[in-house]
């Protein structure tokens, strides 16, 4: 018995403690499969509900369907799941950078349900972000179950994201790249292998369960050198559309926030607007995968004018859905808008130069998608690899790189923050690994406080203080009230020097007459950035920390620098 126990202990130890890479790979496979299943579940249920609702689309009240969906979705998120609306990707990024990837288990299904309600009823949004949220939350929950530390949990959150994206698009490398480029923000050796394996696992799951419904069937395209020049022009167009899309999304959300309607009324307004638009432009409904498929295969038949209108219709419909209370992501809308842009561009190109020799409409739809993804998310690699995998070949790589780099550079030039990061930057929550903001956010005031200070009474005579001064090393003496122990002020050696050198003053003054009461104080709730700001404004090196009128300790720039440097070494060292 004891032999088995020992053996088990040994194996367990070896598996889970000595080599955490192996552990992460095994856990990563589980996370990849689970998030792949979540993605498949959402896709399948969306298919079913779309078919089920199809006959009702011809009734006059059909425009109310998206409104009902958005209403249910917002009520569900608000009352039952108690989570904020929106797409969830910024929340995942923030959780990764601030809380070591800690997400609630509830998030693994709540966004799936709410986005199912929104998109299934016809709201214009994508299922990717909810699936990413769900996959990350599954990763976080599995890490919690295994008792892993923050670093390992972050890897598993990345695995969940990668599995989800890989499963939805049947594109494992795109999943890997998206996870690292957008969610984690750092290319670390220990992360890449588990995430890559999770991505493959996710893709395999969707291939095994719904092979006939794979979003983009691999199909090759003939793209030649003559397409370079048109792709440069297309990239500029997609950059403009990306910026416009981001602006409209944010503006609409702002207007909705300012309006005095309750949440559910907002959702109804947003939903019915989309419903009414769908009567004239059916492309705006739902996540639009079917339209994308037909555009890639070149069977999409609409006049150039209608497609042109549809681009802006889709932009507006997505903004109305997401900004006014619906739930879902922007990935699918990006793809749809991108492919519409690509096709408009192709048609315009042919009407201007009928004799031009270039690739088919489908290829331009794909290029447009790359342009939009690179522009809106400012994630050029994700855009490139997604399309490379969809076309299953490297023939298109040159125009892809051209479009992707130009589009992301241009939109970065116009607006340096991508759609995902913008919210975080506005809230001061954009904390990429190895940055100043991240280190300052990680360091807690409690770690920096020096508490061993001799306190002096405000009614102490100066002569007595001089005696203390002779024997102690401190440069600062906190002054407190006699009865209450309240913090009153601080005595700095540098400011009282002239009195200390004048024995005639010793019996003439009390400490509350020479203490400095105007020194700004920090409290334990302040974060380090605020403390440093206070120091900068006052131009001082140390400030007292006061909590509930009680002196806690001093915080000094010397201590901050010391710990800051250690923290930087810890955070940037290679594991």
């Amino acid at each position: 018995m004891s032999i088995i126990k020992n053996w088990y202990k040994n194996v367990y130890h070896k598996l889970f403690h000595l080599d955490d890479r192996l552990l992460l790979i095994i856990a990563g496979i589980c996370v990849g499969i689970c998030s792949g299943l979540a993605a498949v579940a959402l896709r399948l249920s969306l298919e079913v509900v779309l078919e089920w609702l199809h006959p009702f689309r011809h009734y006059w009240w059909a425009f109310l369907l998206p409104a009902i969906g958005a209403l249910l979705s917002s009520l569900y998120l608000e009352k039952i799941a108690r989570e904020g609306a929106g797409h969830g990707v910024p929340e995942v990024i923030y959780a990764v950078s601030r809380y070591g990837g800690l997400l609630r288990f509830r998030s693994s299904y709540s966004r799936l349900i709410s986005s199912f309600l929104t998109i299934g009823s016809g709201g214009s949004a994508g299922p990717e972000a909810p699936v990413v949220m769900s996959g990350s939350s599954i990763g976080s929950s599995i890490a919690k179950f295994l008792g892993l530390n923050d670093r390992q949990r972050i890897t598993l959150v990345g695995c969940g994201t990668a599995g989800a994206i890989a499963s939805i698009f049947n594109a494992p490398i795109a999943g890997l790249v998206f996870s690292i480029e957008v969610i984690l923000g750092e290319w670390k050796f220990v992360n890449i292998i588990p995430i890559a394996i999770a991505a493959v696992a996710g893709a395999e799951v969707s291939q095994a369960i719904i092979p006939e419904q794979i979003l983009f069937n691999h199909q090759p395209f003939q793209v030649g050198a003559s397409d370079i020049l048109p792709s440069i022009c297309l990239a500029m167009v997609t950059a403009m559309i990306s910026v416009l899309f981001t602006k409209i999304l944010r503006q609409t959300a702002k207007i909705a926030k300012k309006s005095f309607f309750p949440l559910w009324v907002r959702a109804v307004i947003g939903g019915s607007t989309v419903g009414i638009m769908a009567i004239f432009i059916p492309v705006v409904l739902g996540e639009g995968y079917h339209f994308i498929q037909s555009m890639i295969s070149g069977t999409f038949s609409m006049s150039i004018f209608f497609i042109f209108v549809a681009i802006f219709g889709k932009i507006f419909a997505t903004a109305m859905t997401l900004g006014w209370g619906g739930s879902g992501g922007i990935f699918a809308p990006c793809l749809l808008i991108g492919s519409l842009t690509g096709i408009v561009f192709h048609k315009a190109l042919f009407s201007l130069f009928p004799s031009i020799e270039c690739a088919s409409e489908g290829a331009y739809a794909l290029l447009g998608m790359t342009g939009l993804i690179s522009g809106v998310m400012q994630a050029p690699l994700t855009g490139i690899f997604l399309i490379v995998e969809i076309t299953s070949g490297y023939e298109t790589i040159l125009p892809l790189i051209v479009v992707s780099s130009i589009s992301s550079t241009m939109s970065h030039y116009i607006d340096p923050a991508s759609f995902y990061f913008k919210e975080l930057i506005e809230r001061g929550q954009f904390l990429r690994p190895g940055t100043d903001a991240r280190i300052l956010a990680d360091l807690n005031i409690r770690e920096l406080i020096e508490t061993s200070y001799i306190k002096v009474s405000e009614n102490m005579v100066f002569r007595k203080f001089i005696e203390i001064l002779k024997t102690s090393q401190q440069n600062f003496y906190p002054v407190i009230a006699d009865e209450t122990g309240e913090y009153k002020g601080v005595i700095q050696i540098s400011t009282i020097r002239k009195y200390a050198l004048d024995p005639g003053m010793y019996d003439m003054i009390f400490l509350n007459q020479i203490m400095d009461t105007e020194v700004m104080t920090a409290s334990l709730e302040n974060d380090l950035q605020e403390v440093l700001d206070i120091m900068d404004i006052d131009n001082v090196d140390s400030i007292p920390v006061v909590e509930n009128d009680k002196f806690i300790g001093m915080i000094s720039k010397t201590m901050i620098l010391d710990l800051y440097r250690r923290e930087l070494i810890m955070q940037t060292s290679v594991q």
């Binding site: 005579v461 004048d502 005639g504 007459q513």
Partner: protein, 224 residues
């Protein structure tokens, strides 16, 4: 607006060498290259906003806090006045009868000032020895417009519980509206009283004008 390396170093609070290194390493938006780098204010503002860096274009922080106008001791003595031959028996009556003489305190406030002075004496005697005392309140008298130092000579020495147990015959009433002023006058006064020739000059009960002239000379020698 164009900025030089030196200007920018002031705004960023680092030495020019650091600015040059940053410029060489491509970390700053450079407006003009060459031996002397030039920077553009607008570009810098954008760059600082993006990187969460504080730029002090407004010269704030460089300007020191405005100094409060400091009155000299001789001026304060002129404000306070010099009084001779005051009759009293003990600490409280000394303070009371001196205060009655001092003309620059509004009558309404005299009882308040007296209470504060008695309170201060009960905490610790202000008799600094050598027959001299510096009565003053612990809290400042915000109703006073100008700081004043009144010198009172007693007719007979009085037991003031001074630090050296000697009876006191000369009192410097130190009454100010601000703490800073109070500390300043106190330190100048303490400087003067350390001069033994000044103390013996005081004991000769000099003429007020001569006394103020003497204080003027002495305070000029004060290094602080």
């Amino acid at each position: 607006m164009e900025l030089s390396v030196f200007d920018l170093s002031k705004y960023l609070g680092v030495v020019p060498d650091t600015i040059e290194r940053w410029a060489r390493q491509g970390k700053l938006p450079i407006f003009k290259k060459g031996i002397n780098y030039r920077f553009d204010t607008k570009e810098l503002e954008q760059w600082a906003g993006k990187h969460n860096i504080r730029l002090n274009f407004s010269d704030k922080g460089i300007v020191e806090k405005e100094r409060e106008s400091i009155i000299t001791l001789s001026k304060a003595v002129q404000n306070g006045g010099v009084y001779f031959d005051i009759q009293a028996k003990d600490v409280n009556s000394v303070l009371k009868s001196c205060l009655e003489k001092i003309s620059n305190i509004p009558n309404d406030f005299k009882t308040d000032v007296l209470n504060r002075l008695i309170e201060r004496e009960s905490a610790l005697s202000t008799g600094i020895g050598n027959a001299i005392a510096i009565p003053h309140p612990r809290e400042q008298l915000i109703y006073l417009t100008d700081p004043l130092v009144s010198i009172c000579f007693l007719a007979n020495p009085v037991n003031y519980k001074a630090l050296d147990n000697q009876p006191v015959s000369i009192l410097f009433f130190l009454l100010c509206s601000s703490l800073k002023m109070h500390l300043h006058l106190l330190s100048v006064l303490s400087f003067c009283l350390r001069d033994s020739s000044f103390v013996s000059f005081l004991k000769s009960r000099p003429d007020p004008i001569e006394l103020i002239e003497k204080i003027e000379i002495l305070q000029g020698q004060n290094p602080l």
